[in-house]
Amino acid sequence: MAKIEEVKAMVEAGKAKLVPGLVQEALDEGSAAKEILQAMVDSMGVVGDKFSTGEIFVPEMLMAAKAMAKGVDVLKPLMAGDTSSSLGTCIIGTVAGDLHDIGKNLVSMMIESAGFTVVDLGVDVAHEKWIEAIKENQNVTLVACSGLLTTTMPALKDAVQTVKSSGLTGFKVLVGGAPITQQFADEINADGFAPDAGSAAVKAAELVKSL
């Protein structure tokens, strides 16, 4: 099996300790950094699909994301300045009043695995902070807001409205969280909704490609 195929398989299997060595071996074998990165992104797509269909669970997905992150660490120095394979920057956080980060962290990892540069604003993000982050970061293509509590659904609506009426352009707004539905996402005028972390990564890439 070519090393790059082994990288793919080990990312999928969540073998975080093995992936960096295999990535290095793939480079030594002559594979380009960009090619290896794409192979890992493809693996994470498979992982996301398996999660969405219930074939694997959160721990397996986390381990795969962790394995990919270790592989990316090896590639980073070789890809400095190369933005051709990036989907842009994603600003992510939970909306004002929401202190829960479990879903947000998972989505953040999956979105990063899909090829975004992620700027994580953390939890309880005030409306003006979203705007500041869009202005402060380059090539923001996606704003991902989560509201994990029913009580913060109005804050999610406010966050989306604030971002969309700011006059800033060039990005899409993705929403999610336990009480959020496609219907609610439509009501608050979000560009996209995802029910879980695996489909969030797919939706994120789809939204950005339509920009």
Binding site: I56, F57, P59, G97, D98, H100, T150, T151
Partner: protein
Amino acid sequence: MLNGGKPEFAPLLYELYKVCMLATNNTDQPWQGGKDPFGVNWVATAEGVIPESGKILFDDIADWKKYVKFPDVDSLGIEQMAQIELADFTDEKRKEQPVAVFNACGLFERMAAFMGFENTLCALIEDPDSCNEFFEAMADYKIACINRYIDVYKPDVIIYFDDFATARGLFMSPKTYREVIKPHHKRIIEAVTSRGVIFNQHTCGKCEDIIEDYVEMGIKIWDAAQVCNDLEGILTKYHGRLIVEGGWDTSGPASYIGAPVEAIIEETKRCAEQYGKKGNFILFPVLMNEKGHAFMTGDERIPALMKTWHEVNKL
């Protein structure tokens, strides 16, 4: 119904029990926020307390013995909490209303409180041996606390909280739950049921994949049973063996802040029709307002809900 008899009506959670929740405030997690006896800082939100985001005690479960110091159960004031909560609760009242004592932060949630969810979930499959060791020691602590609760509160029901699931399914595979958590969970359940106390398991989310395990281990009531599960199927399959406490569509319009009374009445009637009529059902409505849970913070829509329920809950 709690004793296995045929109920005349489906009860409403808030009218059913004499709820006692002060002891777990001292032994597990402070309801108002602040440090728990293990040193984890909890932050109060409108929907309950959670460990302070981004603050963990350790990130590798293999290190747990370095960081986890079990408190002396005698020092936790469980007796004083019982005295406060039961001060006006006479023997006469005991005959009319079962006493239910909360025990928050179960084994899985406790590990997440120490390590964060991401580290915890990875640990379950990366280092099951250390997890087993941790859960065994933590189960000993939980059992010691619960035994003390039973001594001093003399409860009818212990409500044990551990959320294993999201709205779309279990956090971990059923296999991982069964191999790593279940043996210790089972020991806690047996400690309760062996003393003649009913075990009420609180698990939000879509956890139907392990309901069979719950029933097999002796769990009598499943609390916060949410509509992402096949509640009608579960009520039918486990009739007489499992009481379903929940039923309210917590993600639906009746739980939105500012939901109109009409939506609440409609949801109340749906629960009665869909679940109440099957028996073995306790309604657990979740009404939200700006202050949090309406039944704890007060809300003018509650009387309409209760009036409706009392009209439609007869069996």
